[in-house]
Symmetry: C2
Subunit: 497 residues, 2 copies
């Protein structure tokens, strides 16, 4: 009898996050929930920082309501989320009380599996969240961010796994967010974790497809004993996304491994998203092929496009190559953090500054904090000269303690601020929404009544060819200064057909 | 020391054949030949039936001149071609003398490796071509077309390999033209061939990427001892094409296997074809993702699009699904031939006829020939009722001999016909061009003087993206009707910043 390999479906979170800028509306997911629920997944990943953010920023959708909807529509299957450790779904460290409250509320609203990671792999940043998950009785998954650097070895990752097991994690995730995990390290890592932590410790492998090698890495991970793997149904797979679920099922035929997935149901889901995908054409990733240069630069594809747009805004779009060469240097100076939210943004932005204004002439506040330990420890040693600059810039000393130990209880203050906002419903969920995204939540609360927006567009409505330059594309009225008979008027104009 | 795995580069033949309808002009390949020649490939595939056909049909390019150009520009690397056994590059059986002449001329013009296959896997159809290759001293590669059916087992394919070794082949190719080769059979097949034929028999594995599993199959084939694998540089890879060359190189890092490819040179070639690819946008395959339903239907992607266009021409575009269900039935009736040129066309067209006119109410001449053994033997037993219908239709008896045994010497006649054509230069090469494509060659000979056509189009001619709705994109003045103080004016307006 072949060994059962379980599968986590990513299409409702990381799938559309990686391929269509997280813009998919709940409305477009609802029709497939029943099939997903009956397809035989170990879990369905459906919630995380970017989906939460996109809900309130772009979709006028309450992310908590989205979660409750999934819970209602998928009663049989574990719901899974991605949690940035002490950062929760935001970009800063939260005080422990907020972390505990968030986990408790997420569990109450229906979350089953909490995949908890820290961008720097500082295990101290996972502890509060993992402990909070354990307290709710839900599944606490401790995560190792996989990266490649001169200071990272398979042994280091195995040691992290051992710490996570000591924390009482229900499973260990190897998170390969940049498609850097090659087949042999995948095998060695899973094998090593099983040997060090025990064969019964569940190992869950997350990879992206970008480099074209990670389907093989999944196979080798399975051969080494991986229990659960992540894939995304083909309609939203490959490129910067993930390996296709259907291919994984087929790949195992005849091997000593099997899934329990029902391909008929998965193909129905595939057909649905095949129809939905073109409606989000404007958000779709341009990348459909593979990109192996990531192995040299260590820079994930999404990070490159972010930096490109930053450079263009500064009128320096031609300096991308310099920035790409600067990133590995900045990363080395910062002690070789893995590049994943938020470290990828912090290192990337500093690299842009270095190229535009001279190396470390200007430090961003976030980069100074990173250098001074305010995000946690890195595996590599930091460049002492740059640390000195960071001290001067930030006017504070480096720390070695767990960053959240410096924070004071903040729940009551957050609650006070949230409750003062128009449209806040007074629930803990709303306070948490505000706590995560204080810039965005106020507007969301005030417009929530208007109901969700679906940014998908009927491709039939898409103009076949762009309008010729002589016909302005103004949809509504436009304001002009018009000089008529020598006199200038401020005029509002609507184009005629 | 890791074992060396050699690589054949497909981008100059099957890569653009699978992804851009074989339309790439020699002119667009010339700039990369030096880098390909120095990159460390075992061979570069660059010639075959479809490329030969496209040269004279669409590109007004002499395929023999293309071959000589490759030879001149890639002096260090083996040039490889795909040869349809007794069909050569055409769609019918040629008499042995023509086969021998073709091989001799291809070798003289610079071909090194002849990958010889038969669509039905009737090994008798390979013998003359393989013998002719051996006579030239070039590399004779015997090929097994991989397929899946109730009558095909790994053992059958191993037996075919043994026959090919008995023929004196220099290597054995497992040709997976429909991306059906899953990891476990890939392993079993290579292992089985090595065990049955000897470890020193070179095994070469060709797969397509369509189903998303074959990169893993290449890994398992390598683990089983495969000596050479086929890939295509990423700029023309995936979808109905092949696994990316760069990914294969990276995949092997840290394993007990290695290639000798120079990634720097390959990335230069990648950059070139990344620029060239959009110029052929109108010919590009729509498929960029994976398609796993092929495992159910056994119908290769290219065949589906062919049948769709046949059905549309008949105004029956809505009956694709019926045809897709009919194909496996027709294939079973025909004794489960692999589906590859020309059997894929023959079976597909008959399935279309069956749906449109009733099952076997009308037989194509080619399908009758297939049923009567005029293409060779199949592994499965044919449906006797359909054979009876074929006898009645074709007014000839079934045969069991090698089909070419029935043919009379035809070289002199072909030569006479070719030499009578305007523009024929009298060479054996021209006679062979005529022999392969008698419908197309006359026009080509008469227009050859005009030189090659490049069907690529400058994408700069493509209009840029439409302007956002709130900001009119008017570059110059725009004309409006404006009502101001109750009076309508025709006004020319320039937007202000």
């Amino acid at each position: 009898m072949a060994r059962l390999v379980e599968v986590t479906e990513l299409i409702l979170r990381d799938g559309h996050q990686s391929l269509m800028a997280t813009r998919m509306a709940l409305e477009d997911m609802v029709p497939v929930c029943e099939d997903l629920d009956n397809a035989g997944y170990w879990s369905v990943e459906c919630w995380g920082g970017a989906t939460f953010d996109a809900c309130i920023r772009f979709l006028n959708e309450d992310p908590w309501e989205r979660l409750r909807t999934f819970r209602r529509l998928m009663p049989k299957t574990r719901l899974q989320m991605l949690l940035r450790g002490q950062n929760l779904l935001g970009y800063r460290h939260y005080e422990d009380g907020v972390v505990e409250r968030f986990v408790e509320k997420a569990a109450q609203n229906g979350m089953d599996v909490f995949r908890v990671f820290d961008a720097l792999n500082d295990m101290r940043n996972l502890r509060t969240a993992l402990r909070a998950v354990k307290k709710t009785g839900k599944h606490a998954q401790g995560t190792i961010c996989y990266t490649v650097s001169p200071v990272h070895s398979v042994g280091d990752f195995i040691e992290m796994a051992e710490q996570l097991v000591d924390f009482g994690c229900d499973s260990i995730c190897i998170k390969d967010m940049a498609a850097l995990l090659k087949p042999q390290p995948a095998y060695d890592l899973v094998k090593g974790i099983k040997q060090a932590c025990g064969e019964d410790v569940l190992v869950h492998v997350h990879t992206h497809a970008t480099t074209g090698v990670t389907m093989v890495s999944l196979m080798k991970a399975i051969e080494a004993g991986a229990d659960i793997v992540d894939t995304s149904i083909s309609a939203l797979s490959l490129g910067p996304g993930h390996n296709p679920t259907e291919s994984l099922v087929e790949m195992l035929e005849g091997t000593p491994y099997r899934t329990r997935l029902d391909l008929e149901k998965i193909l129905k889901v595939r057909d649905h998203f095949k129809k939905i995908r073109p409606r989000y054409a404007e958000f779709l990733s341009d990348i459909t092929g593979v990109e192996t240069e990531i192995f040299r630069s260590q820079i994930p594809g999404g990070m490159i496009s972010n930096m490109e747009s930053q450079l263009k805004q500064q009128g320096a779009g031609d300096r991308v190559r310099e920035v790409l060469e600067e990133v590995p240097r900045v990363r080395e100076d910062a002690g070789f953090p893995p590049l994943v939210t938020p470290s990828s943004q912090i290192v990337g932005t500093q690299a842009v500054f270095n190229v535009l204004m001279g190396r470390y002439k200007v430090l961003t506040g976030e980069f100074a904090d990173l250098m001074l330990g305010y995000y946690g420890n890195t595996l590599g040693v930091k460049n002492a000269e740059v640390v000195t600059k960071a001290v001067a810039h930030a006017k504070k000393d480096p720390i070695t303690c767990r960053p959240a130990d410096l924070l004071k209880p903040e729940w009551e203050q957050l609650r006070g601020q949230a409750l003062s906002l128009q449209g806040c419903n007074g629930s803990d969920e709303d306070v948490l929404t505000f706590a995560m995204f204080p810039q965005v939540a106020p507007k969301f609360f005030s417009t929530r009544d208007q109901g969700p927006k679906n940014l998908g567009k009927d491709p039939a409505a898409k103009p076949a060819a762009p309008a010729p330059p002589s016909a302005p594309a103004a949809a509504g009225p436009v304001h002009y200064n018009i000089t008529l008979n020598g006199k200038t008027h401020k005029v509002t104009v609507s184009p005629v057909a």
